[in-house]
Symmetry: C2
Subunit: 166 residues, 2 copies
């Protein structure tokens, strides 16, 4: 294997992540107050987009990942978006890449705030689920359907995330 | 106000909750292992059901509730199911009631395990969101659409949950 290229993980922000998906975070002001003022609703924070099939909720039990993290592969789902909702206050690496003629361009890496959910837009190249330093259970909102919905791309030269840039 | 009737909250189980909705919990065996064996996927654990509009993901910031908890009102959403996914390890009261000719029958009360998500089926009478003893943020998968989708029923005689039955 070739020696890996360095990749820096920076704090996830909605604006930087916009080309790839949604950061599911409260709006500056709630959409509406409900339950006699005891609950703030922030509505419709993710673009759910399914070519066929339907939306469903699944659980993913992911093993812990640690730094340094080697990125040898990214994948994409051409038929549907995929939202990852952590059921606890852990951070995750979010590795994404623009498409460059059917293969991923140089990836970008972000680190979430503890407990932050994200939604990957349909067809976006991304790394595997990576809760940092703890195993994590996630609710995932994605396409339930039949037929192949996974493409993988293995990098000739992998990337290595050694530390988080704060 | 009339003196309240006692209501007992028992631990939430999928079988007892089945008439009202889904407990979003891992299956006995994963649907599939993904990410080179490092992640177990438990697929399609909730019946998402929308009469119109579309599924969306919202955030609810709910204030803490405490025992004793007075149940004066339940509500229902005739146009869509509603899944509540806690973003942290707190417990919730889940108050539901069967329909009896357009009004709620005697309610039932359950308490979730810490971090457990649930999905209320379309049109099921239910109490408000009640994270116990802590404020809680939830991702909610429900109908995004226009038009009225809320019916409330205020009990002539309310119910009081004084303690949890373990």
């Amino acid at each position: 294997m070739s020696s890996p290229l360095p990749l820096t993980a920076t704090p996830l922000t909605a604006s930087e992540f916009a080309p790839f998906g949604d950061v599911i975070e409260p709006r500056a002001t709630p959409t509406v107050m409900i339950n006699q003022g005891l609950c703030a609703r922030h509505s419709d924070l993710a673009l759910l987009d399914f070519a066929d099939g339907r939306a469903g909720i699944s659980l993913f039990d992911a093993q812990a990942r640690h730094l340094p993290h080697l990125v040898e592969m990214v994948e994409r789902h051409p038929l549907g978006s995929q939202a990852f909702i952590p059921l606890g206050p852990w951070r995750c690496l979010v590795i994404v890449a623009a498409d460059a003629g059917g293969v991923p361009d140089t990836p970008r890496a972000f680190v979430t705030e503890p407990g932050r959910a994200i939604n990957l837009h349909r067809g976006v190249w991304h790394g595997v689920l990576t809760p940092l330093d703890t195993a994590g259970q996630f609710a995932v909102v994605d396409r339930i359907g039949t037929g192949p919905n996974l493409e993988e791309h293995w990098f000739e030269r992998p990337y290595l995330i050694e530390a988080l840039e704060v």
